[in-house]
């Protein structure tokens, strides 16, 4: 039983009793409250199981329990963790790294809520302008407009008009039909009234201004409600703008006084009832009509349409999704007719066709026509239309037309998106030019900047800009309050080193660390106390110089009266902790207990603690005695200029362990993932890949293969596991088919698969568990009663190999597997590699969904190591492979990476971890800062060269590290 506090006194600890989640071994532990606690330990030792799956899950579950059954129907229920009890819990918030939104509508602005405040700020203090002449235009409430109209002489007749805007890529007919649907029959087009129920003869290109007459009213107090409704309808049609036009019943002077008092001078416009939603790109009424608020528009790309230019049109040069020549179809006849008209052969390779012909095939022949004829090879000689003229708009234009129609329908189909992605690339929306909102929203400015301009500013620039804004006049008080709120939130973001981000940046482009820090800042902004925060490795992706700021932020969160539990491997964070808990001693089944807990000194003094051993310097990752010289060849990227890269020329020596370093946002990922990796992939694998902007890559002839080893999962569902991913499960199944009983019964390999009918348990369909969905309670997962979790039926389980069934084999750990498969060279070698990489605690059939990012990455490395080819040079690319790894794991990771390099290959690492950087053969340091202030090569050379470079932030920290 945990220590009880004196009666009436507040509990000062969180006590976990009998936790058995995952590998936790009936763990009981007591952690102080209102402190900064770091939970550390080897990868797979049970850190996350304690912090997230027990403490956080139980806190969350208890909160959910307090909700009514009605409310529970609307939230996903959390299953009760396998723990006896947790004492001393308070409201708990987890800030993980996993939940990066891929929703294109999510931006840094929406994540931080600053976008909502900016919308409010623009609705309150921005200066609106006239859509026709840009002159300042008043913005009033609907009531103010109503009162102004009612002040006109009784009996005066007015027209309420709304401006109409031509829509990008739409015909005038569409605009007229839309106006009609909104109840407008008369338009004023360039000053002339036009009845759109009649035939409208207009030169579309010459039309400049259009206003719809929405209502015609007689001014009188008794018609107040009608006028009010008229104003509302007009503002709806006019997208927030209206014109009041006096028809009759006033003197010239009265009319002028009215216009002067209410509207803009030249065009008599007034904005009405502008609300914050007016500026919100996620509001359908405000979103750009062309891109629907996404800011992007897709266009076809010739290289995607024609992946293999050595082929001819008849030989299938086009990607299947774009065009396939078939002489028996209409398209085939048109293409044949085009070839006759332009005098080219359908059998000529695409790359040998003249530019004019290629352009005509892709983009059409404008207004010209071609005479239709039938290809001689057509099976059906249809004569209809032969000799007649038809137009041809091109293959690329047709796809773009389909895309526009798809967007107009407002659908979101993953199948369609995948189809489009094969032939189209994202461009800035030509209508809103990336602003995501309709043009009328960009007529509002603060200090000359639109809401989009402001969203493009980096946080440091934005903070300074808002500091210069002095609200005046209407809404000044409210404006000052909103300004204070926005600046306060920006200061929090600046405080954790995110000065290079902007509000318009898409959330999907943020790293896990950046997104975690953003959510952290919103929590600090809430100013709550008494909360329990659980964080997962907040140091990831942070340069050491930014890490200091992150630690200060965590301390601030603690100082305002919260308990902060951090799962972390970073040395600086561990040293900053008030209380440490080390899980272990080993990973997986060897872990699940507390090795040591207490202060840093307790940890340093504990001989059983691997962390203490590293921190005390008793154990360390050694700096190599000598650096490799490489194979003398290099890859050279020329003129890299994607994102913030400033026309870089960078050489990557081959046959070395190369580290790419630099501050967060300095351009490391852009250079490696967007340019180098994609350029190599394009040349070696798929010509349809589009790398980021650069002039070229030299030396590709020295490389035979490129492999990106990231931390993404090795499979999407529980049916993927290390055995299926690495590929030795097929060999294991063959082993079982050769067993005497299998031979006798005629079992084939499929019998031993839990994915297909035959050998698997049909009750659970090979899952081993059965999930029951409950109405307002969490889903219940129970072991399958038929197979008792074995996943196979009893007949299949009759077959054994060396005393083990197929289910037993899937349940043995990698360590056990090494000896079990010692006599099987193919399986044995692959399992040994897994064991060498420190994954001995995983079971062969462990579901992919239960693996951490670090584990998944090491399984991928194991796959590569198990099929090493010395004669072919491979470039391995790894983005922050130390994520989730303890120093002891980092040691093992480096060993395996060095094995790849020693086999003659090249390993490129994007890394902040100084222990990894110091072991590299060559370092490329980008920076000097993030964002605009980054994108340059600060230094290159050995770690010692970098340490000697004064301009390099990495060098400064590395120098201290090398010295230590």
């Amino acid at each position: 039983m945990p220590s009880r506090t004196a009666k009436g006194a507040a509990r000062t600890t969180i006590a976990v009793q009998g936790a058995r989640v995952h590998n936790l071994k009936n763990l009981s532990v007591e952690i102080p409250r209102d402190k900064l606690i770091v939970v550390t330990g080897l990868s797979g030792s049970g850190k996350s199981s304690l912090a997230f799956d027990t403490i956080y899950a139980e806190g969350q579950r208890r909160y959910m329990e307090s909700l009514s059954s009605y409310a529970k129907r609307f939230v996903a229920q959390v299953a009760k963790p396998d723990v006896d009890f947790v004492y001393g819990l308070s409201p708990v918030i987890s800030i993980e790294q996993k939940t990066i939104s891929s929703n294109p509508r999510s931006t840094v602005g929406t994540m931080t809520d600053i976008a909502s405040y900016l919308n409010l700020l623009y609705a309150t203090i921005a200066q609106p302008h006239c859509p026709r002449c840009s002159e300042l235009t008043p913005s009033r409430t609907a009531s103010q407009i109503l009162e102004a109209i009612l002040a006109l002489p009784e009996g005066a007749e007015i027209e309420l008009r709304a401006p109409l805007f031509k829509q990008y890529g739409e015909e005038l007919d569409f605009v007229l039909t839309e106006a009609r649907k909104k109840g407008c029959r008369t338009l004023i087009i360039d000053g002339k009234p036009v009845d759109i129920s009649a035939e409208v003869e207009l030169d579309e290109a010459k039309v400049k201004d259009m206003d719809a007459v929405v209502d015609r009213l007689v001014v009188s107090r008794k018609h107040e409600k009608a006028i009010k409704a008229g104003i509302a309808s007009t503002l709806l049609v006019g997208d927030g703008l209206l014109q009041v036009h006096i028809v009759k019943g006033t003197s010239q002077a009265e009319a002028e006084r009215f216009y002067r008092g209410l509207c803009s001078k030249a065009h008599h416009f007034v904005y009405g009832d502008i609300q914050p939603e007016y500026f919100m790109f996620n509001n359908p009424e405000s979103a750009c009509r062309t891109c629907g608020g996404l800011g992007i528009h897709k266009l076809t790309h010739p290289e995607l349409l024609v992946p293999d230019p050595r082929r001819s049109i008849s030989g299938g040069c086009f990607v299947r999704e774009a065009f396939k020549y078939n002489p028996d179809t209409w398209d085939g006849r048109v293409m044949y007719s085009l070839s006759k008209a332009l005098r080219f052969s359908l059998d000529t390779p695409w790359e040998k066709l003249p530019e004019t012909v290629r352009n005509a095939i892709l983009n059409g022949i404008d207004h010209r026509k071609i005479v239709l004829s039938v290809p001689p090879e057509a099976k059906v000689k249809r004569e209809e239309g032969v000799g007649k003229e038809v137009g041809f708009h091109g293959i690329a234009r047709r796809i773009e037309r389909h895309y526009r129609r798809y967007r107009q329908r407002g659908e979101a189909s993953s199948g369609m998106e995948a189809w489009l992605d094969k032939v189209m690339v994202e461009h800035t929306c030509p209508d809103c030019t990336g602003a995501r909102v309709r043009a009328t929203r960009l007529l509002f400015t603060i200090e000359g900047k639109t809401i989009h301009d402001v969203g493009q500013l980096h946080f440091d620039e934005l903070h300074a800009f808002l500091g210069r804004v002095k609200p005046a006049g209407r809404g000044a008080d409210a404006g000052r309050q909103v300004l204070g709120e926005v600046r306060g939130r920006l200061e929090l973001l600046l405080g954790i080193g995110l000065d290079y981000l902007s509000l318009n940046r898409r959330s999907g482009t943020l790293s896990g660390g950046e997104s975690q820090r953003i959510r952290l800042s919103t929590q600090i902004g809430s100013g709550l106390m008494g909360m329990l925060y659980v964080l997962d490795e907040p140091s990831i992706g942070l340069h050491p110089k930014d890490n200091v700021k992150m630690i200060a932020t965590l301390e601030r969160l603690r100082d305002i009266g919260n308990t902060v539990i951090v799962v972390e491997h970073d040395e600086e964070t561990i040293r900053a902790a008030d209380h440490l808990v080390e899980m272990g001693p080993g990973p997986g089944v060897h872990g699940g207990t507390v090795v040591v807990q207490g202060t840093l000194d307790d940890l340093l003094a504990c001989k059983a603690s691997p962390t203490g051993q590293f921190l005390s310097g008793k154990r360390r990752i050694e700096t190599p005695m000598r650096r490799r010289k490489g194979n003398g060849k290099a890859l050279r990227v020329r003129g890299a200029r994607e994102n913030n890269l400033q026309r870089l020329d960078v050489s990557f020596p081959l046959g070395m362990l190369v580290a790419i370093t630099g501050a967060s946002g300095s351009g490391k990922s852009t250079l490696i993932n967007e340019i180098l990796y994609k350029a190599l992939w394009k040349r070696l694998v798929d010509t349809r890949t589009l790398p980021g902007e650069h002039d070229g890559v030299d030396g590709v002839e020295h490389v035979h293969k490129v492999v990106n080893i990231d931390q993404s999962a090795i499979g999407r569902n529980s049916r993927s596991n290390p055995a299926t991913y690495i590929g030795f499960y097929d060999t294991i199944r063959d082993l079982f088919t050769r067993a005497p009983l299998s031979v006798e019964r005629g079992y084939k390999a499929g019998r031993f698969s839990f994915n297909v009918k035959g050998g698997r348990c049909e009750e659970c369909q090979g899952e081993g568990v059965i999930t029951t969905q409950l109405y307002f309670m969490p889903d219940v997962e129970v072991t399958c009663g038929a197979c008792k979790g074995a996943r196979f039926n009893s007949e299949t389980l009759d077959v054994t190999v060396r005393g083990k069934t197929i289910a037993d084999v899937l349940n043995i750990t990698v360590e056990e597997g090494v000896s079990f498969f010692a006599g099987e060279p193919v399986v044995g070698k692959k399992i040994e590699v897994l064991s060498d990489l420190g994954l001995g605690y995983l079971t062969l059939g462990q579901s992919a969904t239960t693996l951490s990012g670090g584990e998944a990455q090491r399984i991928k490395i194991a796959t590569e190591l198990s099929k090493l080819q010395r004669s072919k040079h491979t470039v391995y690319i790894l983005d922050e492979p130390t994520t989730g790894l303890h120093l002891a794991d980092v040691e093992r990771l480096l060993e395996s990476l060095n094995r790849l390099v020693d086999a003659g290959h090249t390993v490129l690492l994007i890394e902040h971890h100084l222990d990894v950087i110091k072991t590299a053969d060559h370092v490329i340091d980008l920076g000097p800062e993030g964002g605009h202030a980054g994108g340059q090569v600060v230094a290159t050379g050995t770690p010692e060269d970098i340490a000697a470079c004064k301009a390099s932030h990495t060098g400064r920290f590395l120098k201290a590290h090398l010295r230590a």
Partner: protein
């Protein structure tokens, strides 16, 4: 009961006057518009009075239908807030059902002068609206005509063929009336009969009242074919204009989407099929995936405007 006694008319008029006198006192009712038989036709004992009541614009006053009872007569009252009434009149295509109902009506009184102005424009029929309404009527007539021809050719079933011809009679009558730039009534066939008795006797009266023979039914089908052929340009101009403008083949789906979006008209594929049969446009095909998950592409029906001009390159 062809001619109702004058007393019935009197009874209805008195009931209406009585009701309107009461409604005038209601400050939330701005205007009353008499529609239906009593406004422009003859009432009989089972008639009711159709009354559109324009209400004030107020959150608490909503659009509603009410069955009233005044002076022993049923009154169908349709309550519409002013803004909605204005939108309905200005936004509805001329000659649509709602428009015809209101246009044939009579404004009984109004407390808001602007409502009289709105009603005043009900009788102006624009050319663009006429064109769209003609296309709509034609696309409604064509499927029934195809069916009629099919039953005549394949089965020789005269009754069933005649039934399909009668189905087509109403949209054909709309073509006749709208084509004459008149307001089409709810009861449009008698209106059309007056305008083109020769044609409607063959396709309507003869199909209803006389014994159907192969000759009379064929005559009706041929008359319809001739009737449409003579009016092809007038009826299908927007379709021909669109296909001429785009120049290349457009799939049926694309054509439907365009006309729905730009003119709010559906079923244009049938019109294209008719124009292709007439040789005014050509049939083509474009590749299409049957489902979002399809891995093969088949050909979808498409149409194309083709010209004979010799200046191709």
């Amino acid at each position: 009961m062809n001619t109702p006694p004058a007393s019935i008319q009197k009874k209805f008029t008195e009931a209406l006057d009585d009701l309107v006198a009461q409604v005038k006192e209601d400050r939330s009712i701005l205007a009353a518009l008499l529609c239906g038989s009593l406004a422009y036709d003859t009432v009989w004992a089972k008639s009711d009075i159709d009354l559109v009541l324009v209400t004030i614009d107020d959150k608490k006053v909503e659009r509603a239908h009410l069955a009233l009872y005044a002076g022993g007569v049923n009154v169908h009252a349709f309550l519409m807030p002013r803004a909605e009434f204005r939108k309905a009149i200005e936004g509805t295509l001329r000659n649509s059902f709602l428009h015809s109902l209101l246009a044939k009506g009579r404004l009984l009184y109004t407390h808001d002068e602007s409502i009289a102005g709105i009603c005043g424009r009900l009788h102006e029929i624009g050319e663009r609206d006429t064109q769209v309404q003609l296309l709509t009527a034609a696309t409604q007539a064509l499927p029934a005509i195809y069916k009629a021809r099919k039953w005549f050719v394949t089965r020789g079933d005269l009754d069933y063929t005649a039934l399909w011809i009668l189905w087509a009679a109403t949209p054909l009558a709309r073509i006749e009336v709208i084509g004459a730039r008149l307001l089409a009534d709810r009861e449009v066939i008698p209106q059309a009969m007056k305008l083109n008795p020769a044609f409607f006797t063959i396709i309507y009266t003869a199909m209803l009242n006389t014994r159907k023979t192969r000759k009379s039914v064929r005559e009706a089908l041929d008359a319809i074919d001739d009737y449409l052929e003579q009016r092809t340009d007038m009826l299908f101009q927007p379709v021909l204009d669109h296909l001429r403008e785009v120049g290349e083949a457009r799939s049926a789906t694309e054509i439907e989407a365009h006309f729905k979006r730009s003119f709010d008209v559906e079923g244009v594929t049938t019109a294209c099929e008719y124009l292709a049969d007439q040789g005014l446009i050509g049939k083509a095909s474009t590749p299409v995936q049957l489902t979002k998950r399809s891995n093969v592409r088949v050909q979808e029906l498409a149409f194309v405007y083709m010209e004979d001009a010799p200046d191709a390159f």
